[in-house]
Amino acid sequence: MAIDESMVPELLQPLWKERAPRVLERIERVVQVLRQEPGTSREEGLAEAHKLHGLLGTFGFHEGSQLAGVAEELLESDVVQNEVWNDAADQLAALHLALATLTAPGLDDNDRESEQRRDH
């Protein structure tokens, strides 16, 4: 997933740096819910996916916003966990990795590209 810092409007970059850890936690939580890990609830996943849907695009991450919207629709539907849920979880996990790499302290652009290549 192609993510870079220029996606975030300059005016919002300080806020993004401050809030990114919480956003990452939320993405991780939705992934856990989609994978039906113990201690997770569909209601919680739905609420987090809904917030991420509205939030990620506002920070400039439109593809991430769409993925969260898909997760929201899945968690709201009558469909029981299936392959589609796993696909959505995998895509959100990839988003999480890309955003985590972007916001990792002390990395320059070359380091980030290397990390993303290694993890894929």
Binding site: P9, L11, L12, L15, R19, R22, G54, L55, T58, H62
Partner: protein, 136 residues
């Protein structure tokens, strides 16, 4: 910085109240309305808090999140309309749920306009001002 924006011959937008339970959305929207748009911006994190702020600050317009825990946007709008002090204040709903039938129901309930999430922080203030101009 606060400025008075004259958006049409009769509609002046100066003070805006933003009501949203989500911290990050409030922070971004506040930056957009206040720093980019030059509007005096009040914020509230729930329907009840929004009702109180509306009565105290008498904003020219309210930007109201639809999905909030407890009192949602629709109920907040109903209560704003039932209070003579706030019944005249235009309300714009902000929501990620904006299918055609949903937008229609929001407008029928008395919303001036609907702004969809995610919104563009660089142009949110323009959307708000354009909606206010439509009051003419």
């Amino acid at each position: 910085m606060t400025t008075t924006e004259k958006v049409s011959s009769d509609v002046i937008i100066n003070k805006v109240l933003l009501v949203d339970d989500e911290d990050d959305i409030r922070f971004v929207a506040e930056i957009s309305l206040r720093d980019v748009g030059g509007l005096e911006t009040f914020v509230a994190s729930s329907g009840p808090e929004g009702l109180q702020s509306a009565e105290e600050n008498l904003p020219d317009l309210i930007v109201l999140d639809m999905m909030m825990p407890g009192m949602d946007g629709m109920e907040t709008l109903r209560q704003l309309r039932s209070n003579p002090a706030t019944d005249h204040i235009p309300v714009i709903f902000m929501t990620a749920r904006a299918q055609v039938h949903e937008i229609t129901s929001y407008i029928e309930a008395g919303a001036l306009a609907v702004i969809t999430k995610p919104f563009d922080p660089m142009s949110l203030h323009e959307q708000v001002k354009q909606a206010a101009a439509s009051l003419n």
